[in-house]
């Protein structure tokens, strides 16, 4: 009887446990914008076909992705918050940050535009107007790259959005998609990267109101997690991925990803990061 019980349990376990093929792979901590925009779905198969290395992407906010790298739970970090990335490298968590590509942020909001910011090119003026109108503004509030960019833009506008906390300034603490869903539902304004916006489906009556300001520039960078801190980091395969991203083949793959004929990311690896 006891044996029968064990047999049943063993059988269930044997059937259920996935047969894990130990193939060649690296883990990349990246951002929701690169994953959800479909960029990785487009470029990673090309890299895997060329090298036989599978890339496992964990998509998080930039702050969280850097934390994953800091703990040694990824081989490569591919994010978009230059200041935080440089700090990451300076503190010895990462090796040599490199430019990969850029796109831009846009401010989207309800078509009715109660704060009247449509068509403004000056982000600071637009944010000042939003604060004066006390128009609902949805903030990521999650230490992501977009959140960092948003806080920087408020600072440049000389507005402290924290004063609107609990009223018009709403921090959702979630990824770009859920934040956009919230903005769509509440008729709020929000800062988003263009790639996520272009691939986002539940827009309702949100549209782009402010774009084209140089301050809305959004740079992506890549770096290897420091193998001297974390001995298990797959140095060779991780570096191979980084080298491919900044190579002509990788850069062409990035430029080739379009939605409705519109490119989402613009490769710029050739612009070397000075001093890193």
């Amino acid at each position: 009887m006891f044996r029968r019980l064990l047999l049943t349990a063993g059988l269930a376990l044997g059937l259920a446990l996935p047969a894990l093929a130990q193939d060649r792979s690296i883990t990349v901590a990246s951002t929701t914008s690169t994953e959800q925009s479909g960029l990785f779905g487009h470029i990673l198969p090309l890299f895997t076909r060329e090298t036989g290395i599978a890339v496992r992407v964990v998509a998080l906010g930039t702050g969280q992705a850097l934390d994953v790298g800091r703990r040694g739970d990824a081989d490569v970090v591919f994010v978009h918050d230059r200041m935080a990335e440089l700090r990451f490298v300076q503190e010895g968590h990462g090796v040599r940050r490199q430019h990969v590509m850029f796109n831009d942020f846009v401010i989207v909001g309800p078509a009715a535009d109660p704060a009247g910011i449509a068509g403004l090119r000056d982000t600071a003026a637009a944010l000042t107007r939003l604060a004066q109108a006390r128009a609902p503004f949805i903030s990521r509030g999650d230490r992501s790259g977009t959140h960092a960019a948003e806080l920087r833009l408020w600072r440049q506008a000389g507005v402290d959005p924290a004063s609107g906390r609990g009223a018009w300034y709403r921090e959702v603490g979630q990824g770009m998609g859920p934040a956009l869903n919230t903005a769509a539902a509440q008729g709020g304004y929000i800062l988003t990267d263009r790639a996520t916006w272009l691939s986002f489906r539940n827009r309702q009556d949100l549209r782009i109101l402010v774009e084209g300001d140089a301050r809305l520039f959004n740079q992506y960078g890549v770096m290897l997690v420091n193998p001297e801190r974390h001995a298990h980091v797959k140095r060779a395969d991780g570096q191979r991925f980084i080298d491919w991203l900044v190579s002509p083949a990788g850069q062409a793959a990035i430029a080739g990803y379009k939605i409705n004929g519109e490119p989402l990311f613009f490769p710029n690896a050739a612009q070397a990061e000075p001093g890193i």
Binding site: A12, L15, A16, P18, T27, R56, V58, D73
Partner: protein, 234 residues
Amino acid sequence: MNDLQGAFVQAVGLVATADPAVAGIVLLSLRVSLAAVAVAALVGLPLGALLAVARFPGRRAVIVALNALMGLPPVVAGLLIYVLLSRSGPLGSLGLLFTPTAMVIAQALLIAPILAALSRQVLEAMWEEYAEQLRSFGAGPWRAVPTLLWDGRFALLTVLLAGFGRASAEVGAVMIVGGNIEGFTRLMTTAIALETSKGDLPLALALGLVLMAIVLGVNALAQGLRDAAQRSLG
């Protein structure tokens, strides 16, 4: 209403075309949840049976603790496993974070208390009927545990299904420890969360309908097996 209709049509389409990406996700979801139930059952059922038959000081406290653990928030379980399995954590050298195994561990942690608490309740009722008889054979509590588990197997199936239901509906813990990696640790629930955040609500709902259909199928299968087994036993 349009979203709902669209979701239903899309769900039928996903099943009818046997979309390979969706099929892979479904298969992985089933494997992870079934493995978690198996692991949790190895610990939870004997513990439940022991609590049903044995009387020892602190038994009530253990039962209260188990009942409370049934409500363990998945995010907390996920975080706990994350910290343990992270490369910077005590079990980091195993390299299990962001793998299906990590998700099995997290789900097993969530459902083991459920299996233990529910089986304790089921088996205690049986034990009250049986105790006299088993004692007359000279069987102490330790010997009674396997007997109880075997004789209670049909009732315990319902307990296992409750565990399976919780495991397959879970998203918070597996998102944290699995990382929702496409083709590797993406499950039905994390795929639904992802599509929701991409704003593709009809596809998210469609995946939800497929998940519900699968859980229904598993339950029907288990019920059928149980009926057939009971009939063959007369």
